[in-house]
């Protein structure tokens, strides 16, 4: 510290001595009270006869309040400009006043790198922010201006300094997520996080930062880096009416980033992809990515790299969503109007995430507009949506509220008379509030609620819904360290009831509740190391089934499954280490622990014999909050990257995962009535590991990305079901499930063009997913203990997504997708029983349904782009399944009136036109 001070004094003295050539004879006296800087300088000009050069716009907010008594001119100026950010330089009789950058009055003598070639009075770093504020409020972004960062010579950190700050939208004040900050002429580039926050470490000296982001105008900042400092950057939204705009987003990110098997889609892309009924649908677009499959069109259940649908952690702003679909899987439960982007981790999953084997799907919602109240509304064939956003406190806090509802009843009215009492509906509501307490503290509140209800012909009615709330606090300790603390509560529940038969009238309820707490520290040690560490806690409470009588006449007995409690905890640490500019690696370790908590009782079985009802030894009851069973273990997350050139890199990764919560479902598609089950003494946690390698090559100055990723994955203790398993209200579920092993492997090829009039991607995936159950002590072996294909095993898959912008108001999109038909179980023979012919089944999934092929087309028509009109509107018109191919969802045989008939069921077996109208205000 002392050393630094001495250094500063030394610099100042040398500067002084250099200045003290002629002007020390100019002596100033007078009172300069409450006058503008401009007036002040004009007065000096008259007093001294020197010329003062300045930019009036830089001075107009600065008032001078000094008195001078025969002091030398430089001293007076120094006093006057104290804490204003102004500096000065002079030669002969000319004074140059400037903000930040100080005008050089002579050519540098010697090395360009020398710090002290700029003769200036260095402003404090807090002044820089002041300075920026003035600039910002004038909406006057000055890329050519030189910004000084840090105190000169303030750091002796081997010539490297750290800059942190937020990248903000200058129009709305919202953070710009995923913007890349690249120091030109270096290999150093970073990307802003979901709060728009970035940290970059650069050598001291002058740099040009190039900042790029989707939907934003590229911008540059000239900086002079003297020491650690904060630097907020505002970007301008790209006004589409401009004749020529070049958008280059996250160029070369795929080459440079460490992660592999990560796909990010922003909302613009999401909205371009035509989907059935024309509603922008996040999960449907995710399904077009390589390595992601579903069992059929009616299902939004994702099978990521051979995983099952319950092996995906779906996070909506940190809240776990257990059922991401509406209308039995026809829509996804996320309102596209509030979504900012979606990121899918299927390969290298960061250490901060855990608890699911296959993937993490992170859905980030937008922050509200911090400057003005705006909104949008949309009308589609089945749903309508409304979004409202605006500031609560201008520039500090904002809100965004989105709501969606359906009026799908008209669809049901098309049903025959006997279904005339049918009702179906859903809605979802999102609320996000973000508040910047001060420069170091921000708070984010997210609430989400969705509800679905069905009642077909007043027979059985179904309700299900998600409720989530979370509060996040971001605290920035300093340029290198920030913390995120999140607390939240997630709930998913469903209820089925039937009153048709008064004797058997019942209601069946299920719910899952989890309270979670997360703490995360991000420590930017140096440009070579970034360390993340943290802890996660989830306290689960499940009510796996409550069956109750409904109405007076009902003689249904109450059947209540015992509540399940457990605590899942994890601590993690990871280090991103840049070894050389070409080679970097990330090593993470997560240690997870799962405690089954009392009060609960569990059946006990002798070892080595099948778990069947006959083998139950008895039930063991455990008291409240007792740790009944603990499962724990490390999870390894490793990835490394070697960039051979600027546009070619190879990455490799290894991952292990543990999963303590499972879905009980023996249907191929994900059903809303699926039950979640926690691991317990009789149900082991699932374990998976994956090794992957990828090759990334960018062509045509990073406008075309190509990649090949190969993976091999093993799954242990995945739950499969015995033939004819009973899953609902089963008090000894372990007798109906079996632990299977699985393996999945595949290669994913992707070519993506991200810029230009024509953009999109084409991907080909070869993948297999095989399961095996050969443990005879489990009671039943499936398919004679041989490997058999899983439901989502579709070896070949080709997807083509394209968008062509004819002009700024009109674009069209074309998609095509082909995949091998999914495996199904078809009969091997026929027999006569109970007065009817019936089918005989043997091995599971030995056959396949016919291959799948579909093309979709849509056109987007935007209204005019005059900036200052009250509303902007747009139309989307399109056709889903353009060729009308009757893609089979399933092939099945059923006994009807005594004979066996085979059928093929297609869900969208004809071209489906759609129309959507959106309005923004």
């Amino acid at each position: 510290m002392l050393k630094r001070l001495v250094y500063i004094i030394f610099i100042l003295l040398t500067a002084y001595s250099a200045l003290a050539q002629k002007t020390d004879m100019a002596v100033i006296s007078g009172e300069f009270k409450n006058i503008t800087a401009e007036q002040f300088l004009l007065q000096l000009e008259t007093q001294t006869g020197f010329h003062f050069y300045f930019d009036a716009s830089q001075l107009d907010s600065i008032t001078i309040n000094i008195s001078a008594n025969s002091q030398p001119l430089p001293e007076v100026l120094k006093l006057a400009f104290l804490n204003t950010g102004l500096g000065f330089a002079y030669t002969q009789n000319n004074f140059f006043i400037s903000k930040g950058q100080v005008v050089q009055t002579a050519l540098p003598d010697g090395s360009f790198d020398k710090d002290n070639i700029y003769k200036n009075i260095s402003p404090q770093d807090s002044d820089i922010t002041e300075d920026l504020k003035i600039v910002n409020s004038k909406k006057n972004i000055q890329p050519n201006k030189l910004y000084l960062i840090g105190e000169q010579g303030s750091s002796n950190n081997q010539g490297r300094n750290t800059i942190t700050g937020f990248i903000l939208d200058n129009n709305t004040g919202e953070p710009v997520i995923g913007a890349s900050v690249h120091a030109e002429k270096t290999e150093i580039a970073v990307v802003s996080d979901q709060y728009g926050y970035y940290t970059i470490s650069l050598p001291k000296g002058r740099h040009t930062l190039s900042i790029q982001s989707i939907g934003m105008k590229d911008t540059k900042r000239e900086i002079m880096l003297n020491g650690d400092g904060k630097f907020n950057i505002e970007m301008q939204t790209q006004v589409i009416a401009l004749k020529k705009v070049v958008v280059s987003a996250e160029k070369a990110k795929n080459i440079r980033s460490l992660q592999m098997g990560v796909q990010k889609i922003d909302i613009q892309t999401l909205k371009q992809v035509p989907v059935v009924f024309g509603e922008a649908d996040i999960l449907r677009v995710v399904l077009t990515l390589p390595g992601v499959k579903s069992v059929g069109e009616a299902s939004t259940g994702l099978n990521v790299r051979g995983g099952s649908t319950d092996q995906n952690l779906i996070l909506f702003n940190d809240a776990t969503i257990y059922n991401p679909s509406h209308f039995f899987g026809l829509f996804s439960a996320f309102n596209p109007e509030v979504v900012k982007d979606v990121e899918l981790y299927k390969g290298s999953i960061p250490a901060k995430y855990g608890g699911r084997l296959s993937s993490v799907l992170e859905i980030n919602s937008r922050e509200g507009n911090k400057k003005n109240i705006t909104g949008s509304a949309g009308i589609g064939l089945l749903t309508s949506r409304l979004t409202l956003e605006g500031p609560l406190i201008k520039d500090k806090s904002s809100f965004i509220i989105g709501a969606r509802t359906t009026y799908a009843d008209w669809l049901l009215n098309l049903l025959p008379d006997q279904y005339k009492n049918s009702k179906a509906g859903f809605y979802d509501i999102n609320v996000n509030i973000s508040h910047q307490v001060n420069k170091k503290n921000s708070l984010y509140l997210t609430a989400y609620m969705s509800k679905d209800n069905f009642n077909l012909n007043s027979d059985t009615s179904y309700h299900y819904g998600n409720n989530n709330i979370s509060l996040k606090w971001k605290h920035i300790f300093n340029n290198k360290l920030y913390a995120l603390v999140t607390a939240g509560y997630d709930n998913y529940k469903y209820k089925i009831s039937s009153q048709t038969n008064p004797i058997n009238a019942y209601s069946l309820g299920f719910d899952i509740n989890q309270s979670n707490f997360k703490a995360h520290l991000n420590y930017f040690v140096s440009s070579k190391h970034t360390i993340e560490l943290g802890l996660n806690n989830i306290l689960y409470k499940l009510h796996p089934g409550t069956y109750k009588p409904l109405g007076q006449q009902s003689i249904v007995g109450i059947d209540q499954m015992q509540a399940e409690q457990a605590l899942e905890s994890a601590i993690y640490v990871s280090d991103k280490y840049t070894i050389t500019s070409a080679l970097s690696m990330e090593a993470g370790l997560r240690y997870s622990m799962f405690n089954v908590l009392g009060p609960q009782s569990f059946n006990e079985y002798p070892k080595g014999v099948p778990k069947t009802e006959d083998n139950i030894l008895g039930a063991m009851a455990y008291g409240k909050n007792k740790f009944i069973q603990t499962y724990h273990g490390p999870e390894v997350r490793l990835s490394a990257r070697y960039a051979f050139t600027n546009d070619f890199s190879v990455k490799a990764g290894y991952n292990t995962q543990r999963q303590y919560i499972h879905v009980l479902s023996n249907t191929s598609a994900m059903a809303p009535t699926d039950i979640w089950k926690l691991s317990d003494p009789n149900i082991k946690p699932q374990f998976g590991d994956q090794v992957s390698i990828g090759f990334y090559k960018n062509l045509k100055s990073n406008t075309i990305e190509t990649s090949v990723e190969v993976y091999y994955k093993k799954i242990k203790d995945y739950l499969d079901y015995k033939s004819g398993a009973v899953l609902v209200l089963n008090h000894h579920i372990e007798t109906d499930v079996i632990n299977t092993r699985g393996k999945a492997y595949g290669a994913e090829f992707l070519i993506k063009k991200i810029t230009g009039k024509l953009n999109g991607w084409i991907s080909y995936t070869y993948s297999r997913t095989l399961l095996k159950m050969d443990d005879p002590t489990a009671g039943e072996v499936i398919n004679k203990g041989m490997y058999y294909p899983a439901n989502s095993d579709k070896p070949h898959d080709v997807t083509f997504i394209s968008n062509y912008k004819v002009n700024h108001r009109f674009s069209f999109s074309l998609n095509a997708t082909y995949s091998t038909g999914r495996p199904i179980t078809l009969p091997i023979g026929r027999f006569f029983y109970g007065n009817s012919q019936r089918t005989l089944y043997a091995d599971r999934n030995a056959n396949r349904i016919p291959d799948y092929f579909r093309t979709d087309f849509s056109m987007n028509l935007e209204g005019n782009h005059k900036v200052h009109q009250k509303t902007h509107n747009s139309w989307t018109v399109g056709v889903y399944n353009l060729t009308g191919r009757k893609n089979p969802y399933s092939v099945y045989f059923v006994s009807e009136n005594g004979v066996v008939n085979g059928y093929k069921l297609s869900i969208f077996g004809s071209p489906i036109p759609f129309l959507n109208f959106n309005i923004k205000f």
Binding site: A298, G329, L411, L414, Y419, F454, L456, Y462, I496, N501, I503, N504, Y506, I555, V556, G557, S668, A669, A671, Y721, S723, G724, L729, T825, L826, P827, I828, G829, R830, F831, F832, Y833, G834, N835, Q837, R838, T839, L840, Y841, A842, R844, N845, K886, S890, V891, Y892, F893, V894, S895, N897, G898, G902, Y903, K904, L905, S906, I907, F908, G909, I912
Partner: protein, 387 residues
């Protein structure tokens, strides 16, 4: 739940999708597994066991019966009750009156020398049917089964039914086309009874019947008492079944939990597929095993139970406003070959419209044989139980 899913599928089909008949090309092997159907009757009724074989999925044979097998019921104390084949793979015992405290099993030795045995089973008692009731629903009619076990001991039930209903021909007929014996070309009309010129009463009143082809199961396991009130079947509005008199005989069987699960599995595999959320069809393993080749699949589950039956009648007068409408119509045709050839092809003559003695000038003809001759769809032999 099933129903809802089916409805959703239906909804989708109606709006955009489709379900179409489809025969996938599956190479199906000759399975030829033994299928055992029936139950061991503990009471005085004889035990009936039907032995068949599984066939290929696409096979010309509807049912392949297993003949000449040796079938016995055997007690734990080696008491043996033989069954004898009564043609068509049906094996029948004499009245057994089994001891409720003993366990019995079924033993089969087939013609090819293979031996099969079931597990030893306890005797189950079937409670009597309390009543068969019905309700008018949406213009049609739904029949319900009511039963209970005062001992709260049964829990699992199966029902089968046999419907019988009286049908009347829409038109009486005294006339018939005379046909050329060689070419079967209509040559004119003649009286069915040339002497009396009477109408043919034997083809006016018939009885149609229908057996349940689905597996109907019920359980009271989730109820506080062993009481059942469940729909059995529905009759479509204005169905001909209730145009005169309708009768249904319901047979009730108590099941063991395992037998119930087995039948549920067959039902799920063969009757309940086709929704969006189908469970996987699964392999069937009952409680009969091949001792000569333990790996061989045997289809069937043997239970020891009783059959309890009840019959009810519902007459057309019990269902006011039933509004059965016959699809039959008739027109009048002049009795000359030209008119007959022009208008009367594929029609069935009923009675003379205008006649002078034996000389028919014109006659009425109905649009189908079905409208005149009820024996094309039922029997004209009055069932013994018919009132």
């Amino acid at each position: 739940m099933k129903k809802l899913f089916a409805c959703i599928v239906f909804l989708i089909i109606i709006t955009t999708g489709c379900k179409e008949k489809y025969i996938p090309a599956i190479i199906s092997a000759t399975t030829n597994y033994l299928v055992v159907e029936g139950f061991i009757s503990s009471g005085s009724q004889p035990t009936t066991i039907t032995l068949t074989r599984t066939t290929r999925l696409y096979d010309s044979a509807i049912i392949v019966y297993e003949h000449n097998a040796v079938v016995n019921i055997e007690s734990e104390n080696n008491q043996v009750f033989p069954l004898t084949e009564n043609g068509n793979g049906v094996y029948i015992s004499s009245s057994l009156n089994l001891n409720a405290n003993e366990k019995y099993r079924l033993q089969i030795k087939t013609q090819d020398g293979k031996e099969y045995v079931s597990d030893f089973l306890k005797v189950k008692h079937t409670p009597a049917i309390d009543s068969i009731s019905w309700l008018r629903e949406d213009g049609g009619l739904r029949l319900y089964i009511n039963t209970h076990d005062p001992q709260n001991n049964t829990g699992y039930y199966q029902w089968k039914y046999e419907e019988t209903w009286e049908v009347h021909s829409a038109y009486e007929s005294s006339l018939i086309y005379s046909l050329d014996p060689l070419t079967h070309v209509v040559t004119g009309i003649e009286f069915r009874y040339p002497v009396t010129r009477a109408i043919d009463t034997s083809i006016i009143k018939c009885w149609q019947s229908n057996n349940s082809t689905t597996i109907i199961l019920g359980t009271s396991e989730k109820l506080t008492t062993d009481k059942i009130y469940l729909p059995l079947l529905s009759i479509e509005p204005a169905s001909e079944k209730l145009s005169v008199l309708y009768s249904i005989k319901v047979s009730q069987y108590a099941l063991s939990q395992e037998a119930y699960k087995f039948l549920q599995k067959i039902k799920r595999n063969t009757e309940q597929l086709g929704s969006l959320f189908d469970p996987q069809p699964s392999a069937l393993q009952g409680n009969i095993h091949c001792t000569t080749n333990p790996a061989e699949l045997v289809v069937g589950y043997i239970d020891i139970t009783e059959e309890n039956q009840q019959r009810i009648f519902i007459s057309n007068s019990d269902v006011p406003g039933w509004n059965y409408n016959t699809p039959c119509k008739s027109i009048v045709i002049s009795n000359n070959l030209d008119s007959i050839n022009k208008y009367g092809q594929n029609l069935t003559p009923t009675i003379p419209f205008l006649s002078m003695g034996a000389n028919v000038i014109s006659f009425s003809a109905a649009n189908s044989l079905f409208c005149v001759d009820c024996t094309v769809r039922g029997t004209n032999i009055r069932p013994s139980f018919w009132p």
